[in-house]
Symmetry: C2
């Protein structure tokens, strides 16, 4: 479903070049549940942003469903992002002037989904992340963990084939975190949704089929382990 | 050092009243290390913001070093916040146009600290949170965990008597999280700094002298435990 070849990302700050990802080869087949962990600053969010097609590599390729994305136009990339990918950002990135309901609904406005169907899906997702009574609240009227759950719901509302989640439980207590992971696991096991989850939380890693360790922009090839 | 009496905070949204904290009695003596945990939305950040004097209660009192803060003017509150309190926000709240160095230095600009002393302190703190080489980076050039560590360094730079930290390790891998907690523990044990730390991370709770559980805006009186 997702593949990278020699994926490299450099940030340039004046004369200094920071190599955030260094020639990374990665692959996930449809229905995989991959967890990526590693130290702060090791390249996890950079990797996820490249997989999510919201950033472009310095060199190397990202292949989505077998197709090299480097060749796509902005419009082609936008369509993939809109229809196939759900992304939970490390800093949530909710729209401050919209309610929780409107934030979750937002990605559907770019698709051909009827208003009734949007309401049904948004309502169901707010329910399943425990925020049914919070639909009208704006982000500044929500706790940190409540905002995080709105971000998770938003990532799922277009029923994407691939969900990329950056620390989806960092601001959640363990019971709420388990509810969220149960939701993701259900989508993975019942609907074959592919997951790539960045996390420091060992409890999250237990849901994974594979765990990859990243350090200084490279995956530890010795560190992968697979649950059969 | 810190005390609350019948502390209550309501948020009003139109006709709806949300009681985020319900008549909370709390106290910490100088040198205490208190951890507060509890479910998402249970009132932890609300409690911390009231203790930090950046929000005012609906009813009840916050006493700082024995003095009721409700009677203080805005100027009096500002002085306490500036001189006595260090606060790590759940969402960091770094200033985007300033570098990491300038963000950490910022609270000192409101005090009578010489430029040389500011440079010494900021340099030492960036070093001890592992960001010595990142001084010139702006927040958008830092990873999530790097921003979190800048926020921690900033909370400590005025050498406050009381440090209030909202999820200070949520975005950190466990090794970096332990470094940060070691730093806080050192300040607590060697300099008698009082800590109130909100966290979901069980590893953080191990550094505490007391752990309090909060639920629906109230502390579980049965849940407190003390390490002698
Ligand atoms: N401005 C506001 N208006 C209305 N309700 C609010 C507002 N701010 C917070 N709340 C509500 O107050 C309750 C307590 O919020 P608080 O941020 O203290 O929770 P928390 O324990 O820190 O949660 P988390 O672990 O998710 O960070 C939550 O239910 C939240 O929705
Ligand atoms: N715009 C930028 N300019 C320069 N360097 C950057 C920029 N963005 C990120 N970096 C650097 O790239 C490296 C990788 O960052 P990334 O955000 O991918 O790390 P991460 O593994 O997600 O870390 P964390 O666990 O702290 O969230 C870090 O050292 C970071 O400082
Ligand atoms: Mg990150
Ligand atoms: Mg909070």
């Amino acid at each position: 479903a997702l593949e990278t070849r020699a994926l490299t990302k450099d940030y340039l700050m004046g004369k200094e070049r920071v190599r955030a990802l260094d020639a990374v080869d990665f692959s996930a087949t449809q229905g995989d549940f991959v967890v990526i962990n590693g130290p702060s600053g090791s390249g996890k969010s950079t990797m996820l942003n490249l997989l999510a097609l919201i950033d472009r590599p310095t060199s190397g390729e990202v292949l989505f469903l077998g197709e090299p994305t480097g060749a796509l136009s902005e419009g082609g990339l936008a369509q993939l992002r809109r229809d196939q990918i759900g992304l939970v950002f490390q800093t949530f990135n909710l729209i401050p002037v919209l309610s929780a309901f409107e934030n979750v609904e937002y990605p559907l406005l770019l698709t051909r989904t009827s208003r009734a169907e949007r309401r049904r899906r948004v309502g169901a997702l707010l329910e399943v992340v425990g925020l049914a009574d919070f639909a009208r609240r704006r982000p500044d009227e929500l706790s940190g963990g409540q905002r995080q759950r709105v971000a998770v719901a938003r990532a799922l509302v277009t029923q994407p084939r691939v969900v990329l989640a950056d620390e989806p439980t960092a601001n959640l207590d363990s019971a709420t975190g388990r509810q969220i992971m149960g939701l993701l696991q259900g989508l993975n096991q019942n609907h074959c949704v592919t997951f790539v989850v960045v996390t420091h939380d060992p409890a999250v890693a237990e849901y994974a089929g594979r765990v990859l360790a990243i350090r200084d922009g490279r995956f530890d090839s010795g560190a992968e382990h697979v649950d059969p």
